[in-house]
């Protein structure tokens, strides 16, 4: 049995999990900032 697909699979899982969470967190951050801006509540 070749172990390579399992190794690649593990790194893809990590990339999707950590990368996905990072992107989702940054997008949520930007969305909230924009919403605060629309309401004139942004912090200086």
């Amino acid at each position: 049995m070749s172990h390579t697909p399992f190794i690649i699979g593990a790194y893809v899982v990590a990339l999707l999990g950590f990368g996905g969470l990072l992107v989702a967190s940054l997008l949520a951050r930007r969305r909230i900032k924009r919403e605060l801006g629309h309401r004139g509540l942004e912090r200086r």
């Binding site: 049995m1 172990h3 390579t4 399992f6 190794i7 699979g9 593990a10 790194y11 899982v13 990590a14 999990g17 950590f18 996905g20 969470l21 990072l22 967190s25 940054l26 949520a28 951050r29 909230i32 900032k33 919403e35 605060l36 309401r39 509540l41 912090r43």
Partner: protein, 239 residues
């Protein structure tokens, strides 16, 4: 400890994180790049596991951080329930999904390691089952904190779950000693020091440092978001 207390004020935490986050993000990218180079290029195959040992460089730090993240949730739960720490609820809301992802990555990468090494993706042994329970505790925390219209009630309910669930952490850690498990016993964090060759231990520790930095960055970014979300909710209620 006094400096941590100063950061209990959400506005002060926000100013602190805005200063620290760019430095931490840069350090995360740098340490992760070095860690991946060591893990995928520089480190030799293990004498038993062969190339599959490379899965350990993600799996093991993910497990450590999933457990550390839950200890953080329990600490924040205590800070909320005992001292009504104003930042604790917001940081717990921010940290729970991060811990859940680390627990999921630990379970999935462990499964992908288990198939070639053990001949199976999953066994119901004490270590794997207690780790799965940790993942469900994270999901329960996320669900409870969002289950009430009154956010403070949700935060308190989730804090109680975090404190009750912390009993699972020593079960995970010592499951391999208390029961006869397919999962191997501790080889890094144990009395007498690590029993791993430095050629494998070095990339493992560098990857652990990289993922710790990533964990901190994620929690800080998400805490900032939660602080602003609470402000937005308060503004909407005031209208």
């Amino acid at each position: 400890m006094a400096s941590l207390h100063v950061l209990a004020n959400p506005a002060r935490f926000r100013r602190f994180s805005q200063k620290v986050l760019p430095v931490l993000s840069g350090a995360t990218a740098l340490v992760l790049a070095v860690g991946l180079y060591l893990a995928l290029v520089e480190s030799p195959p293990d004498y038993q596991q062969g190339e599959t040992v490379r899965i350990m460089f993600i799996h093991v730090p993910s497990a450590w951080l999933a457990m550390a993240g839950y200890a953080l949730l329990a600490g924040l739960g205590a800070a909320l329930l005992v001292w009504r720490h104003p930042l604790a609820a917001l940081m717990a809301r921010a940290a729970a999904p991060v811990g859940a992802v680390f627990a999921a990555v630990c379970l999935l990468t462990g499964s992908l390691w288990g198939r070639p090494m053990w001949g199976t993706y999953w066994v119901w042994d004490a270590r794997l089952t207690s780790m799965l329970l940790l993942f469900f505790l994270y999901l329960g925390h996320i669900a409870l904190s969002r289950a009430y219209d009154d956010a403070e009630r949700g935060d308190r309910a989730a804090a109680i779950l975090a404190l009750v669930g912390v009993i699972n952490l020593p079960v995970i850690k010592f499951s391999v000693d208390w029961w006869n498990t397919l999962h191997q016993p501790a080889s890094v964090m144990k009395l007498g020091g690590p029993s791993i060759h430095p050629a494998i231990l070095t990339p493992l520790m560098v990857m652990a440092a990289a993922l710790l930095l990533l964990f901190v960055v994620l929690v800080m970014v998400r805490t900032e978001t939660e602080i602003d979300r609470r402000r937005l909710d308060a503004a909407e209620r005031a209208q």
